[in-house]
Structure formats: structure tokens, C-alpha cells
């Protein structure tokens, strides 16, 4: 239907622009919907209503302008170049994740054979940015926050990976596009009306993935690196204005990315039953967006409700609880894969 013949250069340009648009847009959407509205309503308040637009969504634009106007403060003793580079590193890792997430049968920047592996690998790059920020800030709170972040992200890489391994075994592929197709074309005991979203078989993996990604995103109950009541704002305590906005975009952009990843791996990504071909290309992004918002709602619901764990409790949870469960899940998946 849309057989467009355009050169590879144009394609690349379009893809780059789309990716560059998706992250800030996604971050803003999550920031508005969850941080300003859902959280407010959960806390028996309304959030910003007056700035204009539906439920005051212009507030986001106002916030953006405010961040741009702010003075760019850099501590005297800061390591200037590292300090400036850190937010970029954090945001960069977020951008890279989106390169492999499919939004339709053909709507994918690059369908890597090892897409899952790649996504998880680049998403953990952000810890380098966090460490850089904490170290370069020449602030003790920032340093503590950065070291906490490093320890935490290392500990939670493993459960995250183990949670995904079950999906990979079941799909028999590490390409995200293949995984989506497997879910779309799969069947449950010969009944293939809704395909086979892996959440039905990999519900343990889904739970693990949510918990671990919550830790990767440094969201409550695992928000020790930024712990407001302890470390004030952790590694970003010295950042102002535009640089802080970068961290903000990084934080919510990563949340957007992980939600999309979870939706792709466990909820069938862009696929909906009965839609194929070009229509899937048209509806795909919307479907993926709806699914990832569901996942994001779960994540943020927990974030707004739970208290924060302590650093040692967090480690104990990862090593004593999540990793064994992840291993058992893989074992079970393997057994069932062989048996059926």
C-alpha cells in the first residue's frame, strides 16, 4: 500500500529524527500524566490545573522554559568537563535503547539479531553517566548517591537479564521483532485468537522484570541514589537548569524505554489480534503506546506508594530472592520448552 522508495540516507535521517523526538516526547508524556496528574490524584490533590490546556498540561511547557532560563551553576571544585558530559551520557543511553524497539512490522530502526541483549546492555550505560555526575560534582551527597547507584545497578542487571532469558528461550530468538511475531502468531493450546502474549507463561519473568527495572530506573522503593530525604537529590544535587532537565528527560525517558521493552517482551508489543500487514504498521505505534502506558502505570503506582528500602536490604533482595527466582524461572521454562 505504501511502497515508498526512498534512499537509505533519507531513511536514516527520518529514523534519527523519530528517535530524537520519541525520548523527550515520551519523557514529557510520562512526566505529565504520572508525575503531575496520577500522583496528584493518588495524593488527594489536583496538581497544576491553572496553566491552561486540558487539566493544565501547559505546565510542562512552562517547566521546560523555566529550566532553560535557569542559571547554569557549576560548583567551583567540580571536574568541569566530566560534570558537563554526565547528563549527556545518561540521555544517550536512553536514546540507544529505542533503536531496537519495534513499533510495527516494518517500523523499527534496526532489527538486531541480538536486540534484547543490546537493549539491556545500552540501558545500563546510564550508570556511567550517574557515576560521572556524582564524582564530578565535588559533593559528598552526590558521591554517596552515585556509589549507591553503581552498586544498585550492578546488582539489578542480573535479575533483569534472568527475567528476560525466559522470554528468549520461549521465543527462540533474541530479536525483538521475532519475539513480537512469536507472540502474535503463537497459540494457547491450539487457540490462537489473541496470540500468545508471553505474560501468560512468563508471569514470573514479568514480575521480576518490573521489580528489576524499578531498581534500574532508581524509582521508589529503590530510589536510594536520589533519596530525597537522605541525600537530598543524590547524584544530581548540584545540577541546575538545562543540565538538570537532561537528567529529568533521562529519568523519564528511561522509564518510557523500559515500559516499551516490557510491553514488547511480555505484552506482545505492537501486535493486536486480527491486525496484520500495513494496518499493523499504522496502528502499531498506538498499540505499543497503550501497552507501555499500562506498564508505566504499574511502575509509577508503586513509586508513589511505597517507602524506600535500605541499601543493604536492596542488595539482599536482589541476591537472595530475585536471582534464585529468576534461575528457577529459566529452569521451568526450559523444562516446558522441551516437554511441549
Amino acid at each position: 500500500m505504501f511502497a515508498l522508495d526512498i534512499g537509505w540516507g533519507t531513511t536514516l535521517a527520518i529514523k534519527t529524527i523519530v528517535i530524537l523526538m520519541i525520548i523527550p516526547a515520551g519523557a514529557l508524556i510520562l512526566g505529565y500524566v504520572f508525575l503531575l496528574k496520577v500522583m496528584s490524584h493518588m495524593q488527594s490533590r489536583l496538581g497544576p490545573m491553572d496553566p491552561g490546556g486540558f487539566h493544565g498540561w501547559y505546565q510542562l511547557i512552562g517547566d521546560g522554559i523555566k529550566f532553560l532560563q535557569k542559571e547554569d551553576v557549576m560548583p567551583t571544585k567540580a571536574d568541569k568537563r566530566v560534570f558537563a558530559a554526565a547528563p549527556a551520557v545518561v540521555v544517550l543511553s536512553t536514546f540507544l535503547v529505542f533503536a531496537v524497539i519495534p513499533m510495527g512490522p516494518d517500523l523499527v530502526v534496526k532489527d538486531l539479531d541480538i536486540g534484547v541483549f543490546y537493549a539491556l546492555a545500552v540501558s545500563s550505560l546510564s550508570v556511567i553517566g550517574v557515576l560521572m555526575a556524582g564524582w564530578a560534582s565535588a559533593n559528598k551527597f552526590a558521591l554517596l548517591g552515585a556509589l549507591r547507584a553503581a552498586a544498585q545497578l550492578i546488582a539489578y542487571e542480573l535479575p533483569l537479564l534472568l527475567a528476560v532469558v525466559g522470554v528468549v528461550i520461549q521465543a527462540g530468538s533474541m530479536s525483538l521483532q521475532d519475539i513480537v511475531l512469536q507472540q502474535q502468531n503463537g497459540e494457547i493450546f491450539g487457540w490462537d485468537f489473541i496470540g500468545n502474549p508471553f505474560i501468560l507463561t512468563q508471569f514470573i519473568g514479568f514480575g521480576l522484570f518490573l521489580v528489576a527495572s524499578q531498581a534500574e530506573l532508581t524509582q521508589t522503593p529503590f530510589d536510594m541514589p536520589v533519596a530525597e530525604s537522605e541525600l537530598v537529590a543524590g547524584y544530581m544535587v548540584e545540577y541546575t537548569g538545562f543540565r538538570f532537565l537532561f537528567f529529568f528527560i533521562g529519568e523519564f525517558g528511561t522509564a518510557f524505554g523500559f515500559s516499551a521493552l516490557a510491553a514488547t517482551l511480555f505484552l506482545g508489543g505492537w501486535s493486536i489480534p486480527g491486525v496484520d500487514g500495513d494496518w499493523a504498521n499504522i496502528l502499531g505505534p498506538g498499540v505499543l503506546f497503550a501497552k507501555l502506558m499500562i506498564v508505566a502505570f504499574l511502575m509509577f503506582w508503586v513509586r508513589f506508594t511505597y517507602p524506600r528500602l535500605r541499601e543493604d536490604q536492596l542488595q539482599a533482595l536482589a541476591w537472595k530472592f530475585l536471582i534464585p527466582i529468576g534461575l528457577i524461572n529459566i529452569l521451568l521454562t526450559g523444562v516446558f520448552k522441551v516437554a511441549f
Partner: protein
């Protein structure tokens, strides 16, 4: 070899400081890295100190070696100022000691002046005082119940705490005209009687308060992570607590069955009320939260009892126009939301006090911190600070 020094990690100068009996480390393979202690200034501007308390903490990693509270950033010298005020004027000052429960601060001072003068407020005034004292206790504790959640990382309870406290503050405002600093007590009684409809309104609000307590029990106390963060953290043994002068709910959470409303010289209408003194044997942060939750409920029940038993009659005793307090001295203590609030008033027969020793609860409650914070982790410092529940004005006076 010494560890690489860094501006943020090593504020205490160079990495190696010559010490007697310790030889300078030589460069070699089997020398442990010198991980020096880090001095962390928690405060004076820090979200966990809700005010201007400063804690100088020496850290080894995340473990606290020593903690030294530095107070006085808000010291206003009330003990000196009271010597330059007349008795009615002092009320304005003491309103601002523990600013969350200002009304409760006024009561013991009025009691002291009345005892020195040998007058007694009429029963209705006493009962209204009791009601408002318990209302300020509820307001203070509701804030704590939410605030504690915030300090251990949960954002939402704090908003619920503020939301429900608002109802109680509205009541206090309706009766006294002031939300925070009522300045409602007069020597020998009260400024005004209760407004029309206030009692029915208060009854309805107590229902809200009791519901809010249930909600906090579910949302905060029932949360596993909250339990993990607070159970066994900051244990105050009862003998240590009393030696440091820790009082109020903090001491009752350590199993000491001591409530001045019941055990001090009878004051206000408390002898006529039926209430239970809650204690908890553990003495940790969790039990402090638990005790305050129960006391909020108990206070709501006491308010309801007060409304039931409120006698009719005048609200002011016969008091001379210019108040001169006869020579003498008196010690008056009351159970305030934060603990034992007491005044030792020395009068020399003048219109103003000669010396007022203000014994505020938070001062002693916080003085236990150097002992309590040894060996805990940084997040536990926040838990302990939050669970002790101090008001900076109450420390610094």
C-alpha cells in the same frame, strides 16, 4: 599507599595524617588502601531535619562512626526574653516554642501563673483547654504519621497527613482565631467561649481523624518495607531513655508506663477522662510510630469525651486587671505531644516573671542522638530522626 584524594570525598585535608604510633604507609602490594572517614554535614539545610538542625556525621562508607548534633541556629533566647515581659505577654513567646502544638505550650505556663496567684480557671475553661490541647496533639501527630512515611521514602502519606491535619487546624482556628499560634489562654481562663456549632463540627472531624488513623495503619504501618526500615532501628532501652530525659511517646515506646496526663499533679480535666496509656516494649522506630498512632486515636476519643462532659459556666475566673504574681516559685509539667513540657517559674511579686526555666521535650529527646546514631547506616539516621519527632523551635527555644 594513600588513596587518591578528592575534593568531595576528603574534606579533612590530605589523605595521610601523621599519627602517633602509626608508621607512614609505604608503597607496596599488601598495604590496605586507606579509606579515610568522611565527614558529612547533614544540615543545617536538609530535608530530613525539618528545620535547622545540623548533624556532623563521621562516616565509614555508609556507616556512622560518630554523630554530633549542632543546634542553636534557631535559638531565640526565650528564657532571657521572658524576664522582660509581663505574664500575659509571655504567652506570645511560648506559643512559638513547639509551633505545631502551640496551644499545648500555653497551658503549663498559664497553670504556673494561676498556681502562683492562687486562682483557678473555671471548669468550663479547663475542659475547653483540655479539648484544644488534645486537638493540637492530634494535629501534631497526624503530621508525624505522614511525615514519617515521607522520611522513609513514601511520598503519599505525607499528603494524607497534611490533608487530615487541615480539618483539625480548621477547628482550632474556628475556636481561637489562629491556626498555628492561637494565643487563646488568659491567666484565669480563656479569651472566648466556643463558637456556635463547634461541638458538632468537632464530632464529625473526630470521625475523619479516626478514619485517617485506620488509613495510616494500612498504608504505612502495614507496609512490609516500612517494617523492614523501622523495626530494630534506633532502639532506646528504657534506662538509657530516662537518663537522657527522653519523654513522651518516645519513652512510652520503650516500655516506660509514664504519662504526665495521668501521673503528674492533676491538671486540666484529665482526672475526669477515661483514657489508656499506650506503651510498646520494643523501643525501636517502629514502636514509636505505633505508639503515636494509638495516641492519636486515644486523643480523638478523649476529645469526644470532652465534648460529652463539657460543663456549662463562665470561662474566666475573677482576675485583677493588672496581673501581679505573688512571690514564689512553682514547677508545672504537662504531657505535650512531643513529651514533657515544663516551666519552672520564679516570681518576685512583679508583673513579670523573674526567671522562667523552659524545659522543652525535644531538647532532651534529641540529646540522645550521639548515643543512638553510633553504628547505624545513613538511611537509618533519617529514620531515627523522623521517629524521634522533634520540632526545632522546641530544641532551640
Amino acid at each position: 599507599m594513600t588513596a587518591p584524594t578528592h575534593a568531595s570525598a576528603r574534606s579533612e585535608g590530605p589523605g595521610w595524617v601523621p599519627q602517633p604510633g602509626v608508621s607512614e604507609p609505604s608503597v607496596g602490594m599488601n598495604v590496605e588502601l586507606d579509606t579515610g572517614d568522611m565527614v558529612l554535614n547533614l544540615g543545617p539545610q536538609h530535608p530530613a531535619t525539618h528545620g535547622t538542625l545540623r548533624l556532623v556525621i563521621r562516616l565509614d562508607g555508609e556507616r556512622v562512626l560518630t554523630a554530633d548534633p549542632v543546634i542553636g541556629y534557631m535559638h531565640r533566647g526565650y528564657e532571657k526574653l521572658t524576664e522582660f515581659r509581663t505574664y500575659p505577654q509571655v504567652t506570645t513567646l511560648i506559643n512559638r516554642i513547639d509551633w505545631l502544638s502551640s496551644f499545648a505550650n500555653e497551658v503549663p505556663f498559664m497553670d504556673a501563673a494561676e498556681r502562683l496567684m492562687g486562682i483557678e480557671a473555671p471548669p468550663r475553661a479547663q475542659w475547653i483547654r483540655t479539648t484544644l490541647t488534645e486537638l493540637s496533639r492530634i494535629a501534631t501527630f497526624l503530621l508525624f504519621l505522614g511525615e514519617m512515611g515521607l522520611q522513609v521514602g513514601a511520598l503519599t502519606p505525607a499528603f494524607y497527613g497534611f490533608r487530615d491535619r487541615e480539618h483539625v487546624l480548621n477547628l482550632i482556628e474556628a475556636a481561637t482565631g489562629g491556626r498555628f499560634h492561637p494565643n487563646f489562654n488568659r491567666i484565669g481562663g480563656l479569651k472566648d467561649d466556643l463558637p456556635w456549632g463547634w461541638i458538632a463540627e468537632t464530632r464529625a472531624t473526630m470521625k475523619i481523624v479516626l478514619d485517617a488513623c485506620d488509613q495510616f495503619e494500612d498504608l504505612v504501618l502495614g507496609n512490609e518495607i516500612f517494617g523492614a526500615r523501622t523495626r530494630g532501628i534506633g532502639i532506646i532501652p528504657s534506662d538509657v531513655g530516662t537518663a537522657y530525659g527522653v519523654s513522651g511517646s518516645n519513652l512510652r515506646a520503650s516500655g516506660v508506663d509514664w504519662d504526665l496526663r495521668r501521673d503528674a499533679r492533676p491538671y486540666l480535666a484529665y482526672p475526669d477522662l477515661d483514657f489508656k496509656v499506650w506503651t510498646h516494649p520494643d523501643g525501636d522506630s517502629y514502636s514509636r510510630y505505633w505508639v503515636r498512632l494509638q495516641e492519636t486515636r486515644e486523643a480523638a476519643r478523649m476529645v469526644l469525651q470532652c465534648l460529652e462532659g463539657m460543663p456549662a459556666g463562665p470561662i474566666m475566673a475573677k482576675v485583677p486587671r493588672i496581673i501581679k504574681v505573688p512571690e514564689g516559685e512553682v514547677w508545672v509539667e504537662t504531657e505535650n505531644p512531643l513529651g514533657q513540657m515544663a516551666y519552672y517559674v520564679v516570681s518576685k511579686g512583679a508583673t513579670g516573671p523573674f526567671r522562667v526555666k523552659i524545659r522543652s521535650a525535644s531538647f532532651s529527646n534529641v540529646s540522645i542522638l550521639p548515643w543512638l546514631l553510633q553504628g547505624v547506616f545513613v538511611p537509618d539516621v533519617i529514620t531515627i530522626l523522623a521517629s524521634l519527632y522533634f520540632i526545632l523551635g522546641d530544641i532551640d527555644r
